[in-house]
């Protein structure tokens, strides 16, 4: 059986950092304040204290302490809390890429989908956002209302991955 563990992470604050105007100046202000650049599309950056993962062209998902971000945006964007509606499920072990192909449509087995990459897709009718933490670990951000169902789907699929 391909080695794989599926675990639900505890709830944690999650925000969206959205820019609607002057992206370049906001990017400069951000880098000056936080010490790393706003990640490109499909990438993530930062540390456990503050990590930004980009799933959309003008919106970054923020893990950690987002209190400094509103000032950086001022009138060019907005920070909004969304953590209550999202469950983070961690997939670790060598089999996570194969598991994500089950009921999926996104090429999670592609070598280009490596550590630091992010992608949003649909798995078993559920809109999930994936973030590759390292070569053997991927975190899925799943809508709360669908999370029990998807967890069950993954646990069942994990049983017959090897065939």
């Amino acid at each position: 059986m391909t080695e794989l563990t599926i675990s639900t992470l505890p709830a944690a604050p999650l925000h969206v950092f959205e820019i609607w105007s002057n992206p370049a100046t906001v990017a400069k202000r951000f880098e000056a304040t936080c010490g790393f650049a706003l990640p490109h599309m499909g990438r993530s950056d930062g540390s456990d204290a503050l990590r930004l993962i980009r799933f959309e062209p003008t919106v970054w998902l923020v893990e950690g302490d987002a209190s400094a971000l509103s000032a950086i945006l001022s009138d060019d964007g907005a920070v909004t809390a969304i953590g209550g509606g999202i469950v983070r499920i961690r997939l670790s072990g060598k089999g996570w890429r194969t598991l994500l192909m089950e009921g999926g449509v996104f090429d999670a087995e592609s070598p280009t989908f490596a550590a630091g990459c992010s992608a949003a897709t649909i798995i078993d009718h559920v809109n999930v956002r994936l973030h590759v933490v390292d070569e053997t670990t991927c975190v899925a951000f799943v809508p709360l209302s669908f999370s029990q169902g998807l967890l069950h789907f993954w646990e069942q699929a994990a049983g017959s991955l090897v065939e």
């Binding site: 919106v59 449509v105 992608a119 949003a120």
Partner: protein, 87 residues
Amino acid sequence: MMRIPCPHCGPRTQSEFIYERTLDSVVPLNAPTEEAMAKLFTRNNPRGVDDEIWRHTYGCRAWMVLTRHRVTNEISGCRAIGPEALS
């Protein structure tokens, strides 16, 4: 299932996208009623190429204009639109 070249995410399977309407049927906010209703209620519906608005709803949530042939499904263009097209 088509493979749509999302300008932000690269080629992705069509199940992540949802079709909205054709580009020429966008009803501008304060358009005169006659023009607004003509755009809302009529389509060229060609048996060939048209510019269509799709959204990468289950991906990067961005909107895009797809130039697609409705018989062969050949996609000759897919461009992001609006301020969302940031670097």
